[in-house]
C-alpha cells in the first residue's frame, strides 16, 4: 500500500512538472522499430518536434560519417523534404540513398559560417512543411539550442544537430549542457563477421548519453538498412542455438 502511494505521488509530481515546464507531453514520436531502444525512450521513440544531438565517437567526431548515416536513417523514416545545413559539403549522396534517404528529398544548404548554419537551421524548423531539419555544427550554446528547441516545438518538425569538430581536442565540448532532448554518440564497431572474405553489415555502438525523462543507455546495433532501420546484431537477437553456433564457427 505504501509502495502504491509512493508510486502515485511520483506520477503526480511528473504531471505537475510537465504542466509548469514549457515542454508539453510529447504526443508524437518516431519509433526506431527496435524493442530495447523504443521501450527505453519516453513515449516509445524519438520525440518529434524536438531537438536531438548526434555526434560520432573517436575519429567519427571529426568526419561524422556514421553520424550522418544514423541521421539519414531517422530522416528517411519521416515524410516530407529534409533540410541539411552544412558549412563544408562532403556528403556523398549515393551513401545516404543506401540508408533510405532519397536524393530528391534532401535540400542541402551550404552556409559561409556556423552562424549561418544555426540561422538556416532555425528557419527550417519554423517551417512546418519539412520532414526533418539537420544542421552540422561544432559549437552549440545553450541559447542557440534553446531557440532551436522552441522552434521545433512550435512546428512539430524533428531537428537534429550533428556535432562535428575540426580537431579532436574540441570534441570535449560535447559534455556541455544544451537544450536538446536527447544526445547520442555513435561509434564504429568492427563489422559483422562473414563466413567468406569481405565486409559485413556495419555495426555501431550507440550511446544515449543524455535523455530528458529517461536514463542514459547504450546499445550495439547494426547500421541502417535500405529503409533507414537499425537492426539488432544476430548474436543478440533471439535466434535458434544452431544458427548462433554457425555464426560463431564462421567467425573463427
Amino acid at each position: 500500500m505504501q509502495n502504491r502511494a509512493h508510486f502515485v505521488s511520483i506520477e503526480e509530481l511528473r504531471d505537475r512538472i510537465e504542466r509548469v515546464s514549457s515542454v508539453r507531453r510529447q504526443k508524437s514520436v518516431l519509433p526506431f522499430g527496435m524493442g530495447p531502444i523504443d521501450q527505453h525512450l519516453p513515449g516509445g521513440g524519438l520525440a518529434l518536434g524536438a531537438l536531438h544531438e548526434v555526434a560520432g565517437g573517436g575519429n567519427g567526431a571529426l568526419d561524422g560519417a556514421a553520424a550522418a548515416l544514423f541521421v539519414a536513417g531517422i530522416a528517411a523514416r519521416t515524410t516530407g523534404r529534409v533540410l541539411w545545413c552544412v558549412t563544408r559539403q562532403d556528403l556523398f549522396m549515393p551513401g545516404l540513398v543506401q540508408a533510405g534517404l532519397s536524393q530528391n528529398r534532401v535540400l542541402i544548404v551550404e552556409c559561409r559560417d556556423e552562424k549561418g548554419v544555426l540561422d538556416c537551421f532555425e528557419e527550417g524548423l519554423r517551417c512546418n512543411g519539412l520532414g526533418a531539419v539537420v544542421g552540422e555544427v561544432a559549437r552549440l550554446t545553450m541559447t542557440a539550442s534553446r531557440r532551436l528547441q522552441l522552434a521545433a516545438e512550435a512546428s512539430g518538425v524533428i531537428g537534429i544537430a550533428i556535432r562535428r569538430w575540426r580537431r579532436q581536442a574540441e570534441a570535449s565540448d560535447y559534455g556541455r549542457p544544451t537544450a536538446a532532448v536527447t544526445r547520442w554518440r555513435i561509434s564504429i564497431l568492427p563489422s559483422e563477421p562473414l563466413p567468406v572474405p569481405g565486409i559485413g553489415r556495419a555495426r555501431w555502438y550507440l550511446e544515449l548519453l543524455r535523455c530528458r525523462a529517461a536514463e542514459s543507455a547504450d546499445y550495439v546495433v547494426e547500421a541502417c538498412d535500405a529503409k533507414g532501420r537499425l537492426g539488432l546484431p544476430a548474436n543478440l537477437a533471439n535466434r535458434s542455438p544452431s544458427q548462433d553456433a554457425w555464426t560463431a564457427s564462421a567467425a573463427r
Binding site: 556528403l91 549515393p94 551513401g95 540513398v97 535540400l107 559561409r112
Partner: protein, 461 residues
Amino acid sequence: MAANDAAIAAGLGIGMVASKAQALVADLIMVDLKPEDDLRELERLALWFLGNFAPIVAADPPNGIVIDTTGADHLHGNEVMMLTGMINRLRAMGFAARAALADSWGAAHALARFRASPFLVLPAGESAAAVLDLPISALRLDAQIVVALRKLGFERIGDLEATPRAPLALRFGPEIGRRLDQILCRVPEPIDPIRSPEAVSVRRAFAEPISAAETIARYVGRLVQRLCIILEEQGLGVRRLDLICHRVDSGLQVIRAGTAKPVRDAPRLTRLLCDQIEAIEPGFGIEIMVLSASRTEPLDAIQAVSSLIKQPEADISDLVDVIANRGHLIYRIAAVESDVPERSFMLVPPLADDDEIGWPLHWPRPSRLLAHPEPIQCLALLPDHPPVNFTWRGIRHVVKRADGPERVFGEWWKRDKELVAVRDYFAVENEAGERFWIFRQGDGEHSDSGPGRWFVQGLFG
C-alpha cells in the same frame, strides 16, 4: 576596324586599317559598322542584365555595360561567382566579354578593358591604386586629348595624377580633372539606370525624409501591397524585386530579392525585403522609394490537390527564398550517369523536378566523400589484392577485412588521356572497424593504365 577571334587568329588586329586587312587575308568578310543597331542591341543586353543580375544597369556605349551590383551579389553566391556567371552566360550567347568589379564606374571601365582576363574583382578601396598604372587611353577622354597628352609625354594615369592640375586645365579644359576624380572615387558618378518598359513599379515620395528601420519596413509593406494589386490585374508573379531608395543627398540605395518561383503573396515579398533592411544606409534620410518588379513571370491560379486523391506536398518555396536571399547556397543533388564518383552527381536547383536516374546501389557507398582524393602509402599484393596496411594522414591502419576490386574505367569520350585509364576501388576496414573507400590508379599490371598510386576518397559510416 573590329575583329572577332577567327580574324585575330589570322593575324588581323582591332583598329587595323581595312585595306591593310584585305591585303593580308583573301576572302575577308567585312560588315559595315551600324552604330544605331549596336546601341539598340546594347540596350537589349542591358535589359537582360537588369532582369538577371542587378537592379541598376545602364548601357555604356559603344561597347560596354555598367552595372551597380550593390545588394545584388548575394543572389549569385558572391562577387566572383556573379562575374563568372555573367561571362559564361554571355559566352553562351556568343559574346566575348570581359568584366571588372571596382569602386567606381571609371575604374571598372578601365580595368575591364585593360586588366581583366576575362574577369577581375578588386576588394573595396584597392581600385584607386590599381588604375594608376593603366595607360591614359583608359581614362575615357577624347581621342584628340589622348594624342596630345602622349605628345607631351604622359603615358600612365599615374603620370597625370602627379602633375599639377592648373596647366592641364588651362590647355585641355576641365575634362581631364573630372575624369581623374571620377576614376579615383573623389566625385560620384551616378548611373542613370534603364527601366524595362514592361516592368511593374510603384513609387512613393515622402514629404519628410524617413530613416528609421521600422518606418522603412512599414512603407515597404504598403508598396508591396500596391504592387501585388497591379500584378494580380496582369496575372503576373515576381521573380526579381528591387527596392530603390533615393536619398536626400541624391545617392541610391538598392536591395534586391529573388524568388525561385513566381510569387504574388504580399506578406512573403515584404518579409524577403524586410530581411535585408539593415543593408540600407539611409544617411540623411530617404525621400523617394521605388519598388519595381524587374523580372516577372505569368502566375495563374491552379487547382489545389485534394487530400482525397493524394497527400498534398507542402510548399517550401517560401523557405527556399528566405534562405537564398540571405546569401546561402541551397541546392539538391541529382545523379549523373558516370562511374567516376566525383563526376557522378551534380547540383540542381532546390525546386527542380525529381531526379529519376539515381545511382546503382549494389555496391556500398561511403557517406562522406573527401574534397580531393588523398594519397596514401600502401602495402598491397598486385594485381588485385586489397592493401595489407596503409598510412593516411600520418596514421597507420592495418586492414582486417576488405571488399573489391571494383573497376572503374576512364571516360575516353571526355578526355583522350582517360582512354586506357583505370581505377580499382576497394572498401577496407581497419582493426577498430573504421571503413575507408580507397582506390589505385591503374590495374596493377599495365603501366599505361595508371601509375599505381593509392588514394583514399571516402569514409563509410
